[in-house]
């Protein structure tokens, strides 16, 4: 088997035969069918080559040449048809002409010798034809078709962007590689001695085109080159090492398939395995450096962005970093970040930052809940162009509609790619990207890198948001504290002012009381003073008649003086000032003795009996002796005043907790309904007030009540009724 046979069978026929049906399984669209037809004709030709290269007779060779040419004749028309279908062009006349000419060439090839006629024995291996004029015409049409196809592809390539641009690029490359290799098969027909095995390049071409049709994104020429480089490198190493060893062995020992050589193989194998790892790395590094330099930049980008994202905690800066870095590194025309704003069930998006997008259009996308659900579910980048395909492929009509709508929305805002920002299984936002300025599609590598970036970005954004929440919370808290502090201070100021006002009033009140005492007492002092001088003889002897009047004048003035004192005491007690100055160790009995001395005269005048029944073991109490005396005096004095017959008995007794003083009289008594009112304040006595004033018990009794209460004591009266006498009880606490 010579090189021509090998290339025909292994690099043309077999790949084409395998790939053809595979394409049909994957899709039955027009381009799939036409490309399968193209592959069939290529495979046909490949088998033909195999037969030509292996048969020996001239007649047999001519037969197989004619068979092989049937495949070749179909190639130009299928090529043009495929390219037209792929680009969506309608060239009916051109295709019709090509199909007619194809039929013509087929007729001439099968039924006449105008297409192929004379053969010669080429390269000492197989028979090859001389080109006839018709054959030359066919070659002309063949290359015209190829050139026209390339021309149309290039024309479209310049206009389009995205995936279709990438696909066209691969097609152009594939056709140039395939046809430049395949064309060498024509050269020997003109006695140009180029061995026709170069058609092996068709293998590469066929693979590339098929791949471009089947996959819309995975096919990236850089990836292919990188992989090819690594594999060729590795293969070269493997073969090279093997042949080097084999060559050296033969040089030294002459024979290769011996026991020793197998032994050598065992030694070489581990060495190779060791070297393989090292070389594999080396090749990958070289491949990355020269065929995949952008990946390098991407890695730098990831590093840079990661650093920045870790460095910043401010949401705005993080989003700036994301948008700017992605846009600059990928060389994109647009980039932006939208953040999810969830309100109840509805999901809204807020534009955090966009560059190049028309913000007014953005709204139509951002209200799309299908997008949110889809991104949340897949957690993968969403490519706008894929959406068209997803819309067509989806089985559910509702999904079809949604995808179509999504694709329309993305188209409207001119977004090519949506990257979900997922944090804790929840979509927190989207990175929306436009197209690459170069017009290239996003490669798989791009998407992987963007995916990583999006994940980092999501974490950073979530952190920033949490930080912001904490900040806001702190701010609110501070504000609240400040507000409350202010209010407290305000309240305190009010309180302070009120307190000061009270203090001021209190002082004013004291001044007023002092002044009142002074002004009321001064004239009385004068009156009593003059009376004293008169009686003392300072103004000469007093006539008897005048003397009596002056005496009454003096006692009236004394009563007035006493009333004024009482009035002043009451007014002080009423406004809360304790007139009583409590002292410890006060004995009650001596006080009562003093009172007895003072009232005995009055009682005797009225012919009343008065009796003090003392409990001689009374304990000492805490009291203001002067005031307590006044209080008791008032009550006893009252009892004498309102008793016409009989007398007054004063009894003291004690219990565990208090001393009791009872003042019992045989006077006019107190009606039941008045008893309760008796000790109440003057102004609370209502319509009885007049009566109390009239009977004179008013001020004195009330004064006594106030003083007893100031001693924490109790005072009450009991009476059997009118004219049945009454008893006043006073209790004072012992401690």
């Amino acid at each position: 088997m010579n090189g021509f046979a090998i290339s025909g069978l292994f690099f043309v026929a077999i790949p084409a035969v395998i790939i053809g049906p595979f394409l049909l399984i994957k899709g039955r669209k027009k381009i799939h069918l036409i490309w399968t037809a193209f592959l069939t004709s290529v495979a046909w030709w490949g088998f033909g080559i195999y037969k030509i290269a292996t048969v020996s007779g001239i007649k047999e060779s001519l037969f197989w040449l004619k068979v092989a040419e049937i495949g070749v004749i179909f190639i130009p028309v299928f090529l043009v048809h495929f390219v037209m279908a792929f680009l969506g062009l309608r060239r009916k006349i051109l295709l019709a002409f090509l199909y007619v000419s194809t039929v013509g060439f087929l007729y001439l090839n099968i039924f006449t010798n105008y297409f192929l006629n004379d053969l010669y024995f080429a390269f000492d291996q197989f028979y090859y034809p001389f080109a006839t004029p018709i054959y030359t015409l066919f070659i002309f049409i063949f290359f015209s078709s190829v050139i026209y196809s390339l021309f149309e592809l290039l024309r479209t390539y310049r206009k389009r962007i995205g995936i279709i641009k990438s696909q066209i690029k691969y097609l152009i490359l594939a056709f140039i590689i395939g046809f430049s290799g395949g064309a060498t098969s024509f050269l020997p027909a003109y006695k140009i001695n180029v061995y026709p095995a170069w058609n092996g390049t068709i293998f590469v071409s066929v693979l590339m085109v098929s791949y471009a049709i089947l996959r819309y994104r995975l096919m990236d020429i850089r990836v292919v080159f990188r992989k090819i480089f690594i594999y060729i490198g590795m293969a070269g190493l493997t073969y090279g090492l093997f042949y080097l060893v084999a060559w050296g062995y033969i040089k030294l020992f002459g024979e290769i398939f011996t026991t020793n050589s197998y032994l050598l193989g065992i030694i070489v194998a581990p060495l190779f395995v060791l070297l393989f790892i090292w070389f594999n790395k080396l090749f990958i590094i070289i491949a990355n450096k020269y065929f995949f330099f952008k990946l390098y930049n991407y890695q730098k980008t990831i590093n840079k962005l990661t650093k920045e994202l870790n460095y910043h905690i401010d949401l705005k800066k993080i989003i700036d970093s994301i948008v700017d870095t992605i846009k600059d590194t990928m060389q994109l025309n647009r980039a932006g970040v939208l953040l999810v704003k969830k309100e109840k069930e509805d999901i809204h998006y807020r534009i955090a930052k966009v560059i190049g997008f028309n913000e007014d259009n953005g709204i139509s996308l951002v209200q799309d809940n299908f997008l949110t659900r889809y991104l949340e579910k897949t957690k993968r980048p969403l490519v706008a162009e894929e959406m068209v395909i997803l819309a067509k492929d989806s089985e559910k009509p509702s999904d079809r509609k949604s995808f179509a709508q999504l694709s329309q929305n993305m188209k409207k805002i001119e977004a090519s790619l949506c990257l979900p920002l997922i944090s804790r299984n929840r979509l927190i936002g989207i990175i929306v990207l436009g197209s690459k300025i170069s017009g290239d599609a996003y490669s798989e590598e791009d998407l992987n890198i963007l995916d990583i970036l999006a994940k980092q970005a999501a974490i950073a954004i979530e952190n920033a948001r949490l930080y912001q929440q904490v900040q806001n919370f702190n701010k609110t808290l501070k504000q609240k504290v400040a507000e409350q502090t202010k209010e407290i201070r305000k309240a305190y100021e009010v309180e302070k002012k009120a307190h000061e006002e009270l203090k001021r009033l209190d002082k004013a009140k004291d001044q007023f009381i002092l002044a009142t005492q002074h002004h009321l007492r001064t004239p009385i002092s004068g009156m009593l003073g003059y009376l004293d001088l008169l009686f003392g003889g300072s103004f000469g002897k007093i006539p008897k008649k005048i003397g009596g009047a002056l005496q009454r004048f003096q006692s009236a003035t004394k009563i007035l003086s006493k009333l004024v004192d009482e009035f002043l005491d009451i007014s002080q007690l009423q406004i809360g000032r304790k007139v009583v100055a409590l002292k410890p160790n006060v004995e009650l009995n001596p006080l009562l003795d003093e009172i007895m001395e003072e009232v005995t005269m009055e009682a005797e005048t009225k012919k009343l009996s008065i009796k003090l029944e003392k409990d001689k073991s009374l304990p000492k109490i805490i009291a203001d002796p002067e005031k307590l005396k006044t209080a008791l005096f008032n009550i006893i004095d009252n009892a004498i005043k309102y008793t016409a017959q009989g007398g007054v008995v004063i009894k003291t007794s004690k219990s565990d907790s208090h001393i009791q003083i009872e003042v019992q009289d045989t006077g006019k008594g107190i009606p039941q309904q008045d008893l309760e009112l008796l000790c109440k304040k003057l102004f609370e006595r209502g319509d009885k007030a007049d009566k109390f004033y009239a009977t004179g018990r008013g001020i004195g009794l009330f004064m006594s009540t106030l003083i007893i209460e100031a001693h924490n004591g109790k005072i009450w009266a009991e009476s059997q009724g009118q004219d049945k006498g009454s008893s006043f009880f006073i209790q004072l606490p012992i401690k």
Binding site: L514, A515, T522, S525, Y530, S538, R577
Partner: protein, 128 residues
């Protein structure tokens, strides 16, 4: 020689009564009816321009001065601080204390409660 009483009092009736009573009892009486003249008097006593009285009767509520200020002035002076002094007031000493007047150990009498005759007895006791 008759003992000399310095009376600081603004009420004309009281002045009249005390002058009659004190003169009747054989005292010399000098009356000052406002705070300022009392202060001036204390100063001139201090300077030796005036004689030192045997006793001062001081009213607390005066039209222009607080009697307490006069009391302080008296207690400041070297010559005046040892003069016998009775505060005469229409308020009781307890009342005065409650109003915030610090009278110290000063004897305080309420005018309405003491007749001129009683007062003279007290003065006589004081000057013994």
């Amino acid at each position: 020689m008759a003992k000399k009483i310095l009376l600081v009092e603004d009420d004309s009736a009281i002045i009249d009564i005390y002058q009659i009573a004190f003169k009747g009892a054989g005292f010399d009486v000098e009356t000052l009816s406002d705070g300022q003249s009392a202060i001036d008097k204390i100063k001139s006593i201090e300077l030796g321009e005036d004689d030192i009285p045997d006793i001062i009767l001081l009213d607390i509520i005066l039209p222009d001065f607080n009697g307490m200020d006069i009391l302080k002035e008296i207690k400041k002076g070297n010559k005046t601080k040892s003069i016998s002094l009775i505060i005469l007031s229409n308020n009781t000493d307890a009342e005065l204390k409650k109003m915030g007047y610090d009278l110290g150990n000063q004897k305080c009498l309420t005018k309405a409660q003491h007749t001129p005759t009683q007062l003279i007895e007290i003065i006589k006791k004081e000057l013994k």
